[in-house]
């Protein structure tokens, strides 16, 4: 009996050892636009987890060129990486790559947006992120005794993802107060365009008390236009989306700022989750079609739990442990098909 127990223990130990050594050695990531702050932080998250697991991460930047992304995928297949992770330049354009990768038996993981023929994806839920920000803003309005939210939405109507954010924000807000969208703007997701369209909108009607931006640049552009118009900030609430980089933290930590809420998407956490998903896929673990990454309404009161922000040195360090503890949805409340 003792011999049998020893034998079983040895078998279990060996199989555990095998399962550990089965982790991928090299993973390739093709980012769609590596110079953007969001993706630099996604790469940081991927690299951080890869370092912890002893995996070599190689990154190529498609620089918004879908043909380049196709070539880079072929290059990674030539190099024989164990798993290929991609943020598609656009969803339709990567379908042939996925087909080729499948034919070669190469596990492939997508980030951001789903594509036909994919196995698994890691991404935030846009509707839910916007909803959380709207809920937080609604609560602040109620605490101030307000009954109406007059919103300037600095959006990006071209993309379904950003439409979902705006929709989630407005629907959550409407659960607390009478929510009216006074301005629905196309800021192109860029701060300079956002300033321009917001300035024009405010010149037409400045009777608003909430600015929502579908990303940090849009929210900050809206706020900049507000300030340029010389309007009072006392009753204003600004909410941004993304937690892309340092700009929102700089504003949020200013004394008396109206920038009170950020629909944080934790790009570093996105990368960290993505690396875990890639490892799971490689190891044959049953992976979900969509692995939802954490989002949260970040305020000046709770941001320190997730980010160690060095304002003087202009650096931020994420707390992966606390971000990982944020409860995530098993699936998104709304998808682009619901628009």
């Amino acid at each position: 009996m003792k011999i049998v127990s020893w034998f079983l223990a040895a078998v279990i130990t060996l199989s555990l050892a095998f399962s550990v050594s089965a982790d991928p050695k090299r993973i390739g990531y093709i980012v769609n636009y590596g110079t953007h702050e969001w993706y630099q932080n996604v790469i940081f998250g991927l690299q951080s987890r890869a370092d912890e697991l002893g995996i070599e991460l190689e990154v190529m930047d498609a620089n918004l060129d879908i043909n380049k992304q196709t070539q880079q995928a072929e290059d990674f297949m030539t190099k024989g990486v164990d798993v290929l992770i991609m943020t598609p330049v656009n969803e339709e354009g990567v379908v042939p790559i996925l087909r080729k990768a499948k034919a070669e038996g190469m596990p492939t993981v997508l980030e951001g947006n789903p594509a036909k023929g994919m196995t698994t994806l890691f991404a935030i839920c846009d509707y839910d992120a916007g909803y959380k920000a709207g809920d937080a803003v609604g609560r602040i309005l109620v605490s101030r005794g307000e009954t109406e939210a007059r919103v300037m939405d600095v959006g990006l109507p071209l993309l379904s993802a950003t439409l979902l954010r705006s929709l989630g924000f407005m629907e959550a807000l409407a659960e607390h107060v009478n929510a009216v969208k006074v301005h629905e703007l196309d800021g192109s997701g860029m701060i300079d365009s956002s300033v321009e369209v917001a300035s024009a909108a405010l010149a037409a009607d400045s009777n608003i008390n909430v600015i929502y931006g579908i990303n940090d640049g849009s929210a900050l552009g809206g706020l900049q236009a507000w300030r340029a118009a010389g309007l009072p900030e006392d009753d204003l609430i600004v909410a941004g989306t993304g937690s892309e980089g340092l700009a929102f933290l700089n504003e949020m930590t200013k004394e008396g700022t109206p920038y009170l809420v950020e629909a944080a998407m934790f790009p570093e956490g996105v990368g960290y989750t993505g690396m875990n998903l890639a490892v799971d896929l490689f190891n044959g673990v049953d992976v979900p079609e969509h692995k939802v990454t954490p989002t949260l309404a970040l305020t000046v009161h709770n941001f320190a739990k997730y980010y160690d922000f060095d304002k003087a040195g202009q650096k931020r360090a994420i707390n992966f442990e606390n971000v990982a503890k944020i409860p995530t949805e098993s699936k998104c409340t709304k998808y682009s098909s619901d628009l």
Partner: protein
């Protein structure tokens, strides 16, 4: 090897030596570079630029230029994919795509040759018109290939005998045909004459306008073939496809010794230019060098190549 050397002219030989140096450097720098699979990958990847570069060179040799080819790539892929999606016919889509390409070539040529507007200005305008039309039609979203035909997929992604990309074979056949045309036919020689000295060509009785118009059509037609291969590789008509493509083609062609002033250069040189840039791009990628560096390298190559071209012309004056 001796045959290759005998075939190449002096300038082309120098380019071929540069290519060999680049090839050897990357072979020693990356363990993945000098493998059959990678070489075949590069040959397929470069075919899109190569085919467009052949047409672009023909037009440059005739003394004109077309900088709208990048937007054309995006534009003609719309009738290609839409026709395939609606009718379920790949050949019909390809025919329509090529017809649109020819029409654009005719329009560019008509305004440049018959109305006397600078081809740089005409095709700059066409660049914006085509890109704007693409954005308007697509709403800035890619149109997916819903037919998912194996035949269409294999044009840009398939390999003959599992090794040689069909796209590379298409590129090579077109290259050989046009090398023959430019070297061994009176049509080719007339294009050189028109681009080299228009007045002499006129005195020789050449129909300059028709020759130039044909060069515009060849350029747009071959760019449309590039568009078909690209659409196959990315499975869609993509609104951002071909962005800055014209500059990649210019870089390769000028590097290959085709003069921006017209009348000088060869398709063999242009092809080696494409080969060098493609190998550099692939090699840098395999070495994990930033994409941004590849842009810098392309920029430096354009300046050096054009500088040499200017020097050569100044000396010959």
């Amino acid at each position: 090897m001796n045959n290759i050397l005998r075939y190449l002219r002096k300038g082309e030989l120098a380019l071929f030596v540069i290519f060999l140096i680049v090839f050897v450097v990357f072979s020693f720098s990356s363990e993945y570079f000098f493998t059959l699979r990678n070489i075949m990958n590069v040959s397929g990847q470069m075919s899109i630029i190569l085919i467009a570069a052949i047409g672009f060179s023909v037009l440059l040799i005739a003394g004109e230029v077309d900088i709208s080819i990048g937007s054309l790539l995006a534009f003609v892929s719309i009738p290609l994919i839409e026709t395939m999606n609606i009718t379920g016919s790949v050949p019909l889509g390809i025919i329509l795509c090529l017809v649109f390409g020819i029409l654009i070539g005719l329009i560019n040529g008509f305004f440049s040759v018959y109305l006397g507007v600078s081809s740089l200005i005409v095709t700059l305008g066409m660049l914006f018109i085509l890109r704007g039309a693409v954005y308007l039609y697509t709403g800035q979203r890619a149109i997916p290939d819903e037919l998912m035909s194996d035949f269409f997929f294999y044009i840009g992604n398939g390999k003959f005998m599992g090794t040689i990309p069909y796209a590379a074979i298409i590129g090579l056949v077109i290259l050989l045909v046009f090398i023959f045309v430019m070297r061994n036919t009176s049509y080719g020689r007339k294009l050189y004459a028109v681009g080299g000295n228009q007045e002499v060509a006129r005195l020789a009785g050449y129909n300059i306008k028709l020759l130039k118009l044909s060069a515009f059509v060849i350029c747009s037609f071959l760019s449309s073939i590039s568009a078909i291969i690209l659409a196959s590789r990315i499975g869609s008509a993509n609104h951002v496809a071909g962005d800055l493509f014209e500059f990649q083609v210019v870089a390769a062609v000028v590097l290959g010794g085709v003069s921006l002033a017209g009348g000088i250069g060869s398709l063999t040189g242009a092809a080696i230019g494409v080969l060098i840039l493609s190998v550099i791009s692939n090699g840098l990628g395999l070495l994990n060098i930033d994409t941004q560096w590849q842009l810098v390298v392309n920029g430096v190559i354009i300046i050096i190549a054009v500088g040499f071209d200017e020097l050569k012309r100044n000396r010959s004056l």
